[in-house]
Point group: C2
Chain length 327, copies 2
């Protein structure tokens, strides 16, 4: 099977699994939003990683992997529902976020239930694995919430250091990718060292992935569903581009930037002016170079795992797909 | 050891355990609210029940019970943080609710983390018990959320049936008491039948407990911290008293009630007038009789458990304490 077929098999399993998650009819206001979220289009990268890690370490019975993979996807969707409230998001994958389509209370409570549904999936794994899976899952769940809190805290700061920014995205985005892989590895009886390595691969892949997201928001070729090019600039979002710029910007340029961020009403001009500043300080190149550094670390971690090279192909392909996209 | 000493031993363990839950310093906005909730005064009935059930079934090593008991208390506090947002509550145990002392976003996220902290406690139980504890815990967690959703849905209805009301409080309040006991029983290796019985005891105790709460809000002797006598009437809250009244009220009295509920601005007069209607239809007596019925069912479930009578004393004492309180 080539990688594409392999992905399709797993994605099919994941989609079917998500549809089969038991969601009662009632209370309608609780379960309809969950159904809405779980049926949205998505790449399902995280649950796919759980399968790929299990396969990497030679797991053959893949039905055992499905519940762990669905747990990750349910948890991810729970965070989207709650984050959208906190971030006052206007769109989620091109559709209305739950808190807008229904209301904040419904989004809080259906998010809560979706988190429990994640644990319900975990409880369906083979009992011998549950204690260690639960420990890993709890750790990443807490870290993801910490990441969201840092993100909100940082929004109020004028500037933040690159170190703080990377720590924030590590928690908010990367640990879940690392955790998804870790769980697959645990289910495939990987050694503790290999579990750490595959986690390291995931963390660094996640960092590269988020930096790529930041870069594409300003430099992407076309808009992704529900996003516009330059949206982050318009919203003064702290991205790696802004963080890098604030690190090295001169005093006069800093005042210009301040003006565009707070006073410029013409959004197209704001985007162009901020991009000019990025260009002046080679911010694009710096961000890409940082992204490449994390990609390399990820691949080094993968290299150190002692399994046949052919088994690593699907994960290497994922790195390619995720990090060389143009939108 | 008499019951009082026994309770104190357990409550001490629970309080110490809550204080020792690992809460990092940072992010401050995430962990301070959790610390605030876990250090509030409270009766700790639910975690106490976990200990009492374990003891009922002869568990001697009580340190094994502590994490399960703390999981229940963490979960309960998570529901309080989120419910207070949804219910727009003005006080929690006489203090400001998290969403008021901080803000809604912080209350959402610190609530989320507290729910994960509950699962973190579960993961500290002896591994052999984790899969079954996790299943029970997930089930009650989902039911409690369903109960909250029904409660919010019912607030918008003009009237609801007694059956719907009881189903709502069963989910919102009782299953957690039942679950706390179930988990103690599981840890003490009780038979499946006995686990069901102790759950039944808890469910019915919970129903009686909630009805008692409804009754005391109007007929209590003194105010409990943060509550006022008649508060439910002022807020037109759907309690067993109002549900029972709407079941049998005459058309003319129904119009009077409607007037007091929507137009009367003098709160003391509103309370008095609604109480007059309760008196006319013997609502107090009907509610007490229903409460007593659930208490009896609870005690019958306890009777059917085949353990030495002396071991049942602490639970019987709890029934007495909870259900014969005057405030």
């Amino acid at each position: 099977m080539d990688e594409m077929q392999l992905y399709n098999t797993y994605i099919h399993k994941i989609k079917t699994g998500l549809q089969e998650i038991c969601l009662p009819e009632e209370p309608h206001n609780l379960y309809e939003p969950i159904h809405y979220m779980l049926s949205m289009k998505g790449k399902h990268v995280r649950p796919l990683l759980t399968f790929l890690a299990a396969e990497l370490f030679g797991k053959e019975e893949l039905d055992d992997v499905l519940p762990a993979s669905l747990a990750i996807e349910c948890f991810h969707n729970f965070t989207l529902i709650h984050d959208d409230i906190m971030d006052n998001a206007s769109l989620r994958r091109g559709k209305l976020p739950v808190y807008k389509k229904w209301n904040t209370n419904i989004a809080i409570l259906s998010g809560d239930v979706l988190m429990v549904k994640a644990y319900e999936q975990l409880s369906k794994c083979a009992p011998a694995y549950i204690p260690s899976l639960l420990r890993v899952f709890n750790k990443i769940a807490i870290e993801v919430c910490e990441g969201q809190q840092w993100d909100m805290d940082f929004e109020k700061e004028r500037s933040i250091s690159e170190e703080s920014y990377l720590q924030m995205i590590r928690l908010k985005t990367s640990v879940l990718l690392g955790g998804a892989l870790q769980m697959g590895a645990i289910l495939a009886n990987a050694t503790d060292k290999d579990v750490l390595r595959i986690n390291g691969f995931g963390i660094n892949l996640g960092l590269a992935f988020q930096l790529q997201d930041d870069i594409l928001d300003t430099y992407g070729e076309k808009t992704v569903l529900g996003k516009r090019i330059g949206g982050d600039i318009v919203e003064n979002k702290k991205t790696i581009l802004l963080v890098k710029l604030l690190e090295c910007i001169s005093q006069p340029d800093s005042q210009k930037l301040e003006y565009f961020m707070t006073k410029e009403r013409d959004e197209e001009n704001k985007i162009q002016q901020v991009k000019n500043l990025f260009a002046k300080y080679n911010i694009y190149e710096k961000a890409v170079s940082l992204k490449n550094r994390f990609t390399e670390i990820a691949l080094t971690e993968l290299d150190e795992i002692r399994v046949p090279e052919t088994r690593k192909q699907p994960l290497k392909q994922i790195v390619n797909n995720l990090l060389n996209r143009k939108s």
